[in-house]
Amino acid sequence: MNRTIEEINEKIRSGKAVVANAEEVIGIVREKGLSRAAREIDVVTTGTFAPMCSSSAYFNIGHSRPRIKLGGGRAYLNDVPAYTGFAAVDLLIGANALPDDDPRNRVHPGEFNYGGGHVIEELVAGKDIRLVATAYGTDCYPRKRLETWLNIKDLNEAVLFDMRNSYQNYNVAVNTSDKVIYTYMGMLKPRLGNANYCSAGQLSPLLNDPYYKTIGIGTRIFLGGGTGFVAWQGTQHNPAVPRTAGGVPKGGAGTLAVIGDLKQMDARWLVGTSMLGYGCTLTVGLGVPIPILSEEILQYTAVSDADILAPIVDYSGPYPQRQPETMGEVSYAELKSGRIKVAGKEVPTASLSSYPRALEIANILKEWIQSGRFLLTQPVAPLPGVESGIVFKPLQERPIEG
């Protein structure tokens, strides 16, 4: 059994495509067997909804009269600094950006109630955003100060760009120290008080296509409630990691860089997020369709939580000190049972990634495909695979002398 993306699109156009989400497909393959299921299913939809810290939005605000060159100046959106290192009226805001007067962790743990992720959420929700900018003035761009309300509907372009998300698997975070620690993996209670994980597991896009055989540059995706595209491999993309017999990476591996039209998106799927004692971020909804081109591809999508292993990492010492040791491996099925065993101790688990929302995304994407409004794309280039020779390098510091 082999089919092409064009054949699948033909079925989508005629409303006949058979689509299953990445949870349903597990049972279908188990019940019908691989070859029968592969003959029947055209597309498997995946989803994930979790904090994705490398998210950003960029936009063009239009030229003021007289003109101002924000490039090289300073700009604030609801007091959150935006990046101005571009041409006259292009701005970029990162999800982690914080107001200059935010106390951060000066009183630990800092609350981080409002940052770049919240600005992006409010912008998408159609709320007015306050821009305050200063510039140095030139002959062609004389203005030095600009204060105005901005609204997404008036922007020329508004684009979500995320240089790394959809991590293919991730650490399970624990704390073996005697005090509470506050991390990007949430609040970790002392003496193995809890274990936090962050992956949609069996629904997660790259865990359903572990060798990037269908997901590549140019793949059309669900992004933030609208459609977007895979733009590139994400930063820290690291395919050559240890894998299970089924090909599933046993820790953080591949990542995606994605892009999409912010004007189509919905604040339900882009949620400003505060990690106590850590910072602000954006929780992003993303879903990728996987075309069932062969039995092999279907086999990958039938991966279940029991088949996916994640490393348990101590965030009280080894993680911040970049030491490689882990405290063992655990499957997502065990994590989702609510308790795991770490160093002989029963530890309650919690997730930072919303499985119900991930499932909702996979189902929305399924509905889009079934109703003919979402066609699949053929990647224009593959993501670097295991054989690419990519090595995720740590920083080799070189002291700067004299």
Partner: protein
């Protein structure tokens, strides 16, 4: 009929040295379990307790407290969840010391059980989308 309710008591400054809770036991035969107690820098006392006893005696005890000038609030009203902001991620589940957040195994949605909440406030800032709200 026996009732058991969790309540928040606020003692004005002039009352923090009076043995009010003792009188609930002595005069009304009520059982109490103190979940949280503190005195603010303004010397106002705050106590969160579970109060249990015969329905009639319980009501009389509450009347007594009100007459003394203590402000009473029902605990279940103290912390609420903004359903529109909750994403059911689950970060709260292991943070809550009272087990007020329960993961439904099938849907994997997070239930908030107001009756289990002790209003400690730990979830307020530990909730990534800030869906938990405290009301005084």
């Amino acid at each position: 009929m026996t009732v058991a309710k969790k309540i928040v008591l606020r003692f004005p400054r002039r009352m923090i040295d009076r043995p009010i809770v003792y009188l609930l036991v002595k005069d009304y035969g009520l059982e109490f379990n103190i979940l949280k107690a503190s005195v603010t820098p303004e010397a106002e006392g705050l106590m969160v307790m579970e109060l249990k006893g015969d329905r009639k005696q319980y009501d009389k005890g509450i009347q007594f407290l009100l007459k003394t000038g203590v402000q009473i609030e029902a605990l279940s009203r103290e912390v609420t969840r903004n359903e529109a902001r909750c994403t059911s991620c689950g970060a709260c589940v292991t943070i809550c010391p009272a087990g007020a957040f329960v993961l439904e195994p099938q849907s994997r949605k997070i239930q908030f059980l107001g009756e289990k909440c002790i209003a400690c406030g730990l979830c307020i800032k530990a909730c990534p989308p800030r869906a938990m709200e405290v009301h005084f």
